[in-house]
Symmetry: C2
Subunit: 276 residues, 2 copies
């Protein structure tokens, strides 16, 4: 199993504080020592559309000089997705590190997953995994479904419905806590462990659980800022993290939840099911 | 066309100084504003084998906060490969940014290219491009050739011969200045523009051409360090950069050239040739 972290905000925001909490679990205080990754959609260079930076490393985040550097100062982004990996399927290698990225509908999409999926996932001929994880196969399968659905990639509501439908099908095969983004908005879905926290005015101090570190967001923000953080486990000890309900999917934009849906989560059957 | 930068050293070495020179050309003093990337093989986490970090951004390096951070302090690596892109084939998008990475022979291989190749490159069924550049197609084709050759991926001399043979075939289609590495050694080939510089004791001061910046390597190194830099254009004004001969390929390990070969470069024919 792995751990997820994401940010969605209405103003370019540094995720360093939260990333420090996550990366500590990548081999130091946690067992997720098999690689890590960070995708950030920043307004750098292209003011009209956020541009994507993707960074992946096949070594433990807790001992990575680059992860340490990013914990001090990470790209100021509108959407960020981070992941630390504990290998359950696939070797320890760069191509098995999340986030994964692929092109669909004229946009680049980024995906990270926590969980295990049973059985082989049927692949089409357009999206084929580079690595050997169930996660990347699930991402390829999702993109194939989007492609076949004929949905317009700029129609957030329609894409949300498709993604939620895919999430419900994948949830029948096991644990599917996942994050998907095109930089415009962030889709989040959970079958087991995922927490949400929105920071907005009046901003307060927050204390990281590990390492014990405090930050005063009132000194770092303006009163208009809205910043939502998603994390497998609550990262701070003095804020109200909301757990996801099993089967819940959210669509976020500019730090706000703009769409919400829930499917019934059935436990994965013992025998391998046909391809979802 | 694009610009290449690489480092190969016998001790983990920061490429920040050279990277600063390169990244300035990515949209500020140069026209290579369509994305950039950096692959580093560092000893972080896995002392037995270098681990790979891969970072790509679809925005200009010259205006990227992350590129700026890496110019101050980049991962201390045994092999690093950087690239700034000026799009000639394929849209400005993450999946078209170099370096590319793929798995072959139980190792992850990294590839960056400067040049243009004529005609469609025949692809097999194992390595398919994610993006739409001639460069990534060439990389996939090379890996397919390595795969079919039956060569042992740990046999440096045999892999060098195969790569040089592939480079000669690709050179018939246009400009092929390229870098390939598995973290153990670095393969370098050129048909037109590429320069090499080896720094070893006694270390001196060096002055970056742009921005004008001086570094005293004698203060940053030990007398045993051997560091070779490859760059499309010489980055410093007071060191002896050696230009590659057309058709020359080198194999580097621990900062030293361990193998060398040269093929005849024929100009690409006007009509499209059959697949190489």
């Amino acid at each position: 199993m792995c751990e997820l972290l994401a940010l969605n905000a209405n103003t370019p925001t540094d995720m360093g504080f939260s990333f420090r909490g996550l990366s500590r679990r990548g081999g130091a205080s946690g067992e997720h020592a098999d690689g890590w990754g960070l995708a950030s959609f920043t307004p750098d260079g292209h003011p009209d559309r956020p541009s994507l930076t993707l960074l992946r490393e096949e070594a433990p985040a807790a001992f990575s000089a680059l992860a340490d550097q990013l914990a001090e100062r990470s790209p100021k982004a509108l959407v960020s997705i981070a992941h630390i990996r504990k290998a359950t399927r696939g070797v320890v290698a760069l191509e098995n590190c999340h986030p994964f990225s692929r092109r669909w509908g004229g946009q680049t999409w980024v995906f990270a997953h926590n969980g295990d999926l049973q059985g082989a996932i049927a692949l089409g001929d357009r999206y084929l995994p580079d690595g050997s994880t169930d996660s990347e196969a699930a991402f390829c399968w999702i993109l194939e479904q989007l492609d076949h659905s004929g949905v317009d990639s700029s129609n957030a509501a329609a894409v949300f419905e498709q993604l939620h439908h895919c999430a419900a099908q994948l949830a029948e095969r096991g644990t599917f806590n996942a994050l998907i983004s095109n930089g415009q908005w962030l889709f989040v879905t959970a079958t087991s462990r995922l927490h949400l926290l929105t920071r907005r005015a009046p901003f307060c101090k927050a204390t990281l659980a590990d390492p014990p570190l405090q930050v005063d967001f009132s000194a770092l923000t303006t009163s208009n800022d809205v910043v939502t953080i998603l994390s497998t486990e609550p990262l701070t000890t003095d804020e109200h993290w909301q757990p996801f309900q099993a089967g819940e999917s959210l669509l976020l934009q500019a730090g706000e939840v703009i769409q919400r849906s829930r499917h019934g989560v059935r436990p994965a059957p013992a025998a391998q099911t046909p391809v979802p």
